[in-house]
Symmetry: none
Subunit: 235 residues, 4 copies
DNA sequence: CATGAATGAGGGTTCATTCAT
DNA sequence: CATGAATGAACCCTCATTCAT
């Protein structure tokens, strides 16, 4: 069909676009490692160029500043994490269960991939500022839970901050030292308590089996599993 | 007479030491402002040099790296804040009241001095890592409260992290946007709840009048009140 | 055709490599002059940058320290001198004649290019330390001569040091003041005597016509001929 | 007597002058060590100030530049060495014996004090340039020996250069590596040969017992014996 | 004279960015 | 689009030197 013909005519451009996309991915992957090592707010372009095997000039065909690169890494990571978690908790109807399972999944995911933990710990509050899909569904669940009377917090904003703060510290702790396997559950329980969830219910919510969080085969997360997360060499 | 002589011998070193100390203070003050504007992890040395009116060479007689400068600022600030707060809550006997009043004092203090809020928000988790006098008394109070049966948290470490995380986010929020006058009390209540303090008691603990937090006349905090806290120039 | 393609693919790297090599040469040439003026152990980078017409940044793409630059100059010069001399004496079979003709050629060469004389005089003993091709063949000739009974020095090492020392001082003298045309021959004769060569033979060995020492057209030596050798500006 | 009185009146100035002289000595001593470590042509003022325990400002009451300091060290050292050697060979009448014994004494002296060897090796040809008392008597002895027909060198200058060159290399060798005890004698023999002294006589001249070279108790040489001669830390 | 804080010139080094090929 | 040489701004750091005390 004419379709075939037009595809053939598109062949070279399409190959080029694929190559471009592959290079872009390589740069993002290298940048994730570099940022995880040195923290954000530090120049990583030279390191990224070297480890991605791309020339200096080419780099600027993809990203124009360090910040742009960081944003790309953040976006890609957020997207992947969101997919994994949403996929795991999508079927849960109860807002409170969704929330607590989401938090647990998030922390377990971070805990299983050191490079990601390092990156997020280094990013700190910056990750919270920029609205990420990961946090998009939280307020809704929170409000739903309040409405259902399951938790009693007049101020949803304060609640959100407490959740975010606790999560941030937990990620930091996970990145910097060894944590027990049930560390995510303990953190989640403390968060639930702060939302005025009764102790017994908090325990129940954090004792259910965790749904399997699938990671896409070619995703950034999948690749990140294989990488070492060396701390920044002091100095 | 001999008095004159001995005075003469003491005089020069003393004058020199005073001068040195004054310059050091000027540098630290300038650095607090600079860090509050740009965040830590950014070079502020040129700006500090300019605004302290000191030559490049002189700067390096006092601090050899950006990190050393940051540490000096952090130490000075921590010390001043610790004095103010400890002075305010020193007389409180009940551990839980000490804790909650301490948190409230801390947040109100931060809230009243924008430069400090900006600085601490920019420092983020780094301030928690390095043991500061501000956090020194916390664990003791927490343990005492647990022992007294007032709160029931098996894991003190997790509790500490939640407190620190909530505090961190609160500081961040204070620095970045306008907060209601009772914002510190709301945060403190959420924290108390997460420690399993009953709602009624949490409300009671955060409804007492706040003891006056005195700020030393020549201290960094006192000076910081006068300074503007410009946000980082976008870039 | 495929020819065109492969040429195209080779073309860019080759051009780049050529450009790089040309810049490197310019830097080395400028450095030779600078070192000849100020001696080694003095920073010449700013002067080299200025006189080579290269930016500061570019310089560090080639050499990272003053010492690295010096080494490059030394290597290039040693190589050129070695080529010239070896080319001149290669056909001589008698070890003693090779040696004495080599020394004479070396000193005449130095004497004919003031910039080189200045450079070597400034380098002093450092040039002897680092094994240079110039000195590579000496020990072999010396040993051969000893074996042949022509000279009687039990200790070859001591002999080498004397040769090197005499050569060093001669270069220094040549650089610092005007020397008679037969100065190299006089020095060579003294060296031969110190090796216990009989006076008559020493005279004979230093009276032969000197083979022509060819200098490669584009070599450092050839270029150096054109340059002035200003003494260090007093300071 | 009035003498007593005037002495009394002079007391403070005299004490001051003595103190001044003592400080000056301390600086020279520290500088000798510093130069021996780093070579000449390198800034040693900070190190000298530190190790002599003198303030920055005071240093400039004694020496105004690095070069002036170096010259003072060189002068003091030359004077001490000259005294020691002249004292040892003063009684020798035969010019050739004076010469050879002087060379031997010089090299043995250098060999016995590593710091001095390091310093002289670092100074290199610079020490020869500036006329030192050590070399003052050489030409006279050399000419006397020529006149006596003991050696036959038409060109005294060339002979001097060869002696200086050999001495220089020998010092360098002594400083940089371990040398056999009779190393000075071997070098001296080679020098004598280069002056056309017959082998047998050269051996005889270098086989006599070496006169004791006395070192003044408070002299730079005496102190230098106690110091370590660390090589420059590579870098 | 001694002291040591302060200075500023100069050199060293990195890195984002441009551009000819 | 890829390449990598070249650039210049910015920062880092040392040190000789001055000067008030």
């Amino acid at each position: 069909m004419s379709d075939t013909v037009s595809n053939t005519e598109d062949h070279r451009p399409r190959v080029a676009a694929q190559r471009r996309e592959r290079t872009r991915r390589r740069l993002i992957e290298s940048a994730l490692v570099a940022f995880s090592r040195h923290g954000i707010g530090v120049t990583v372009i030279p390191e990224v160029i070297a480890s991605a095997g791309v020339s200096q000039g080419s780099f600027y065909n993809y990203f124009r500043t360090n910040a742009e690169l960081l944003e790309a890494v953040g976006d890609a990571l957020n997207l992947d994490m969101f997919s994994s978690i949403e996929n795991a908790i999508g079927a849960i109807g109860d807002p409170l269960a969704r929330m607590s399972t989401g938090i647990r999944s998030y922390l377990h995911l971070v805990r299983s991939i050191p490079v990601v933990a390092q990156f997020l710990a280094g990013a700190g509050v910056a990750l919270v500022d920029k609205k990420s899909p990961v946090f998009d569904h939280f307020p809704a669940d929170l409000k739903a839970a309040v409405k259902s009377g399951r938790i009693s917090e007049a101020n949803v904003e304060v609640a959100m901050e407490l959740v975010a703060g606790a999560g941030l510290m937990a990620v930091h702790r996970i990145a910097k030292s060894k944590t027990p396997r049930d560390y995510p559950e303990r953190i989640t329980r403390a968060i639930l308590r702060s939302l005025a969830v009764p102790e017994q219910e908090a325990v129940a919510l954090t004792s259910t089996a965790l749904p399997k969080t699938a990671i896409e085969p070619e995703s950034l997360l999948e690749k990140a599993k294989d990488w070492q997360s060396l701390q920044t060499p002091s100095r």
